[in-house]
Structure formats: C-alpha cells, structure tokens
Amino acid sequence: MDYKKYEIKKHGKYYYRGEWDDSLFKNSIAIVGSRQMTRYGEAVVDKFVSDFVLNNVITVSGFMYGVDTEVAKKTVEYGGKHIAVFGCGLNVIYPAENEKVYGQILENGGLVVSEYEPNAKPHLWKFPQRNKVVISLSSLGVLVIEAGHGSGSLVTAKLAIKAKKKVFAVPGPIISKVSVGCNDLIKNGDAKLVTSVSDIIHTKLKIKNEKLKIEYKSNTLEQKICGMIQNDPMEIDQIARKMELSIEEISTTLSIMGIKGLVTESGGKYYPVV
C-alpha cells in the first residue's frame, strides 16, 4: 500500500496521484468538520459515508485529522472512492499518522490532489486556500458535520455559499461545543438541515445492508443495561448506582456483554453496539 508507486501527474493547475477522470466529480460531496470529533460525529460520519458509498457518491475531504480523516477511513473501509485535497505538497504527508490511509485511498481508485509543488510544506495560510479546492471539486455541495464556533469548517461553508454551492449541515446536541457552528448554520438559514443521505441526493436510496448479527440470548439484567445506555452512554459506576447492584455484579455482566458483542467500551464509558 505504498503511495509512492503512484506517480505525481499534473492536470491543469492541480498536482495529483491516481487516475484523473472528470466523471469522478459528477457525483461528489465535500465533507468538512471539526478536528475534535466526538463519538457523535463518528457515528454521523459512519451513517452518511456508508450510504454515500452505496449510492456511488464520491467523498471529498481536506485530509486533516478529526472528521476529515474519519471520512477518508470510512470511505475506504466501505470500498468507496475518496478524493483527498492536501494543504501541502503530495510528497509531504500531513498529518503524518495518515500515511496508511493515503495508500488505501489510491488503491481504491481515489485521488489525492494539491495545488502546491510536490515538496511544499504545510502552512496555516494554505489551509483556507485548500478549502476552496475542496469546494470546487464537489458537485453536490458541502456537508458540515460537527463544527465549533468560529471554526475552519464554517469558513468553508461561507466560501461555498459565495461559490453558489449548496451547504448541508447535520444538527448536533445543542450543548455540544463542536456542534454550535452546525446548529448556527441551520438557524441562520445558511445551510439545509439534513438527517440522511436522501436529503442530499433526491433519488431513491439504496438501503444499507444490515450486517448479519449473531443473536445472543440476553438475560433481563443485560436487557436493562442495554436499554439504559441506549441514549446515554455511562461509566460502570453510574450503571451500578442506577441498577442498585454491586460493582462486582455489574462488571461481571458487562464483561460478558462485551464478549457477546452487546456493548463496547471507550474511555471508560459503555456504549450500545448498533
């Protein structure tokens, strides 16, 4: 999965790796969002990207960490094509931990694109410039997932409005700091509120295949815990307190639920498996 075996070529003012094909951009959507993605953002990306891939929509991102990286990773994971626009030269990988995804994007028939000379370093001033490229490569518009107050994603949204592109935004919890920007876009009428891919492409959607789930018999306590964390992920102490049971019993149950695949744990909190 070495990206270096794909040569850097030039098309117009863009440097790129991969196979340039104008038809790629017929059905493309730019996805922008916060660098500090929350678990909610992750879930939103998963939901949207899986449906974009199924409906042959190409995703475009700015290849920054947070939402951008997650979009690239998920697109590749679902076998879709992704266009990553760099704010630096194509020989420079920024952020460096994305090297693996870089190769995977190219393997899946996607593109990496940059306006800059192959060895140009990343600079803060290059990123807004890069956002313009992201917008220009997307035909369907820009989707904003999680944007904080005054964030770069909002700048991109404003640029998109100027460029007469459509702007879509996914609403978030009103108390979440990284969703303030999204919610404001919707409130001010700058963006269209979207809750599924069908709100963006108005054709009939292909529906995501439900992964085959192995049915485990869960006992009443497990069902109760599942119900409790469905909407509000909790720490083990909270679950024990709410259930009025001892820590020993609850941790035993949660371990078994984890093996059964009913719950997952992240940062000390338990989440239901969807």
Binding site: R35, Q36, Y65, G66, P95, A96, E97, K177, E235, I236, D237, A240, R241, E244, I247, E248, S251, T252, T253, L254, S255, I256, G258, I259, G261, E265, S266, G267, G268, K269
Partner: protein, 512 residues
C-alpha cells in the same frame, strides 16, 4: 602490641568479614594511620576515636598507631569501624581484655564516647549467624535490629566506658533477649486518606482492593482531580501486615539503607514508597559504585507509587520492565555484582493526554491526536503488559456527590473493613504458597498457576472466548487467571468460577 578485632561490612546485601588489626608501639615517630582502602568517612574516624577515648577519661597513647582493615583489597566506607578501632587501641594498650569467644564490634562513636545509631546492624547479625560468631557488640539504639535473629548474643552498648567496664568484668552489660516482637515500629502508621472519604469511584476502589489483596500492579488513568492520587495514597491503609519471612526481607533492605529509626527492630509495616518523576534511574533501580538499593527495592514486599507515570524518562520506565518480571534486580559494577530483591506492587497513575481532559464531558481537550499518541506511546506495550489491572478513574460530577439518595443505596466501606477482606485473602494465599518463595497471586509463575489455580470449565471457556474477541496475548491470558484467582480468594471460593473471570476481564489492557 598487636590486637585483632572482628567486624563485618556488606557489599549489597552480602556480608563481608573484616578484621581490624591495630598495632600500638613505642618505636617510630608518634602517629595514627589507617590503611586497607578506607574512604573519607573512615579517615575521619581517627579524630572521633581519639576524642572519644580522651572523653572517656583515658590517656590517648602518644605512640605510633597503625590500623589495618583486612582484607586490604576491598574498598571500605562508613562509620561502623569506629568502635572496633577504639577497642583495638585500648586492647593493644592492655586497657581492656578481649572476650575469649569470637565477637563482632560495630558502631559509630560520638565525640563524648557514646555510641550512635549505625545502619546495617541487622546485616551484622546475619553475618554473625552465618560465620558462627556468638556475640555482637552494637550501639544500644541499633541493638533491636539484631535481636530479632535467634542464636546470637546481642550486647547493646551505650558508651565506650560502659563497654570497657563490661570487658574487664567490672560491670556486665545485660544481653538482649531474642524476640521477634521487640519492635514498636508497627501500628502507629499515619495514612492520609480513608477509603470512606473518597466518594463515588466504586469500581476503582474495588480494583484497588483486588490489587492490594493479590499484590497486583495497577494502572490508573483519569482526568486531573478525579482522585487518582487520593486512591493510591489511601491504599496504604488497606495493605495487610507483613508475614514473618517478608518482614525479615524488608528489615534487611531497610537496615542497609539506614531507614530503620533508632531503637526500632523488625519492620512490620508494609512499605509504601512514592517516587517523583524526576527521580534518577539509579535512585529508582539502585546502583552506585558500592551499590545501594533503589526505590524499587525499598518497596520490596510493599507498594511503589509512581504518579504522572508517562512523565518519567523513557529509560527509567523501561528499566522497570526486568524487575517487574523477575521480582529482583541485579546491579553490576566494577566492584562486583549485587542482587537486590524488588518484589513490589506498582501503582502507576496517568492522565489520558497531555492537557488531561481527553474524554471529559465538561472540558474540551486541547490536544491534537498526534500529541495524544505521543503521550500514550511513552508507555511501551511490554511495560503495560506487565501491569495486571488497568482502570479508568472518571471525574465525578459534584452534584452526584451531594445526592444522598444515590449514595444511600450503596454502603460505603471504610479502609478498616476493606483491610479485613484483604487480610483474609492474603491469609488464603499464605497458606497456598507455604514454603515457596511466592507470597502473592501476582508473584505466581506459570507453573504455579498450573499447580494451584482451579478453574472451572465454563470459566475457561469464557476466557478462551475473550482471548479471541479481544486478541489477548499469552501473557495477558495468564495475568487474567492471576487476577481471577485473587477475586476468587476475596470471595473465599476454592475454585475460579465464570463470574470471577468475567470481573477480571474488566481490568485488562485496552488498546485503542
């Protein structure tokens, strides 16, 4: 006239027999020389010995005095040679009669002729037992250290003149009775926090109980102010007392390091050591030209608490790996190689990221993914793999703390109650490992696991499933069995059942 006095020094924890030869003669220019590779502290013994003798109302000879510390090729240090040199001089002058049976003389002199508390008396006692020497003359304040050993006569000496009177048969010094319980260095421990003071954190408290009961290493991760340090310090209050063998091992190390206070004997309190993250590698692991035990050895059979774990230098952390596995550390220097025991329970605490608020609900984390990755990668996989229990200490919502309705349903246990459970579990382990050099479940080797751990079929099946589901390494597999064994011991169950394994799985390493 020439006289020979026996004493002992130690290299690491091994005693060395030292013969102090003193010759006082009237030929030659008057002087006082010490030979046999003495260091500065021995060189200065001349002045101490001279003044102490003068202050004991004895005329110091204006003759040529030569002191040889044999064997002459071993470098020597410390103030312990003051007494043998003084007695040697007095014996050469014919002022005291040396005892007929072989005896050790040991201790530092004060200028007024009294003896001071000197480190290493416990090791001197061991050396006496090993070399078949019947009586030891040691400073009165240090004598309790040697009296815990049976089969030797310990004479507590208060001053030089008292010893002279004893040796000349004028007034005998009462020898100390052998007693293992001579020490008061036991119950009056001060523990900063009680577990009852820590509100919430039930799962962390439970994990601490398991760790203390089985001597398992534990790693606490949580946001600043969540109570990691408080939990760790409170653990000092739930540790079980040392059993006899453990106490002797600890006393040996403490005696060498001079950490036993004057007048005290056997160490009965389980050590609880903390080290700041600027502690040097040698300070932590042990070392020096004449190797001294480091914090990991001082925490032998006890607890070593390392707060801000990732802030320790990489080299220091990785140096912990071998002692964590082998439960001892070998230090090699030009002078030779030394083994120090280092069977400690590690409590390590860390923040989840440099700013500390990763995953916190109230505060935004300011770190980039790269910073988080760098921070977490300071703790290497092999190091993390050697820690049995990994727990998350979440920050507690203040409103929940105040909500009495919630806390009423759960009985809050205080340290005393938890300690009783821990002691019970330890007693089961003491019985299980009787006669083996293993004291806790955490110390079990794989062969001991095969021999002692009775695991039910269902429990084993669950464990196998977990290995597949979470990609657990072979080492983690055995660690989970050890933790399960401790949980079973806490439940006073003879076999490891499914629920014990399931609970143990909660504390495994999370790789994300």
């Amino acid at each position: 006239m020439l006289s020979k006095i026996l004493s002992a020094s130690h290299f690491g924890l091994e005693p060395n027999l030292i013969e102090v030869e003193v010759n006082v003669f009237s030929k030659g220019f008057p002087g006082f020389n010490i030979i046999g590779l003495p260091n500065k502290s021995i060189e200065e013994a001349k002045e101490r010995v001279k003044t102490a003798i003068l202050n004991s109302d004895i005329e110091f000879p204006n003759q040529k005095i030569v002191v040889n510390l044999a064997p002459a090729d071993i470098p020597k240090e410390g103030s312990l040679y003051d007494l043998p040199i003084a007695i040697g001089i007095l014996a050469s002058m014919g002022l005291v009669k040396l005892p007929i049976e072989k005896s050790f003389f040991y201790g530092e002199l004060s200028l007024d002729g009294n003896l001071r508390h000197t480190k290493g008396v416990f090791l001197l006692g061991l050396a006496a037992k090993q070399k078949g020497i019947k009586s030891v003359f040691v400073p009165g304040e240090s004598a309790n250290e040697a009296s815990v050993l049976s089969g030797i006569d310990v004479y507590p000496v208060k001053s030089l003149s008292e010893l002279i009177a004893h040796l000349n048969g004028i007034k005998k010094i009462e020898k100390l009775k052998h007693t293992i319980h001579s020490s008061r260095y036991t119950d009056h421990e001060v523990v900063e926090f009680d577990f009852a003071e820590i509100i919430g954190q039930e799962s962390a408290k439970r994990a601490m109980t398991i760790a203390a009961a089985g001597g398992h290493n534990i790693f606490l991760v949580g946001t600043p102010g969540a109570g990691k340090t408080m939990l760790a310090r409170a653990t000092a209050g739930i540790l079980p007392p040392l059993n006899e063998e453990e106490a002797l091992e600890v006393t040996k190390i403490y005696s060498v390091s001079g950490l036993i206070p004057a007048g005290e004997g056997l160490v009965r309190t389980r050590p609880f050591r903390t080290a700041h993250h600027t502690t040097s590698l040698i300070g932590l692991i042990g070392g020096g030209t004449n190797p001294h035990p480091g914090e990991i050895s001082l925490a032998h059979n006890g607890v070593l608490f390392l707060d801000e774990f990732p802030e320790f230098s990489r080299g220091t952390l990785e140096a912990l790996r071998q002692p964590l596995e082998d439960r001892k550390v070998s230090i090699t220097r030009i002078a030779g190689s030394v083994n120090f025991p280092a069977s400690f329970m590690l409590i390590a605490a860390a923040n989840p990221c440099p700013c500390g608020y990763l995953g916190d609900l109230k505060r935004e984390c300011k770190c980039t993914p790269r910073m988080v990755m760098n921070y977490q990668s300071r703790l290497s996989g092999p190091l993390m793999d050697r820690i049995d229990l990994h727990i998350n200490v979440p920050s507690v919502d203040v409103n929940k703390l105040m909500n009495t309705k919630d806390s009423k349903n759960q009985k809050i246990q205080d340290s005393k109650q938890i300690r009783e459970q821990v002691v019970k579990a330890r007693n089961i382990q003491n019985k299980r490992f009787k006669g083996l050099p293993v004291y806790t479940n955490a110390n079990m080797r794989n062969k001991h696991i095969k021999e002692f751990c009775n695991i039910t079929k269902e429990a084993n099946l669950l464990l196998k499933q977990a290995v597949n589901a979470y990609n657990l390494s072979a080492r983690t597999y055995f660690r989970i069995i050890k933790v399960s064994q401790t949980i079973a011991d806490l439940a006073e169950s003879k076999i490891i059942e499914q629920n014990h394994v399931a609970e143990a799985l909660q504390y495994r390493v999370r790789n994300e």
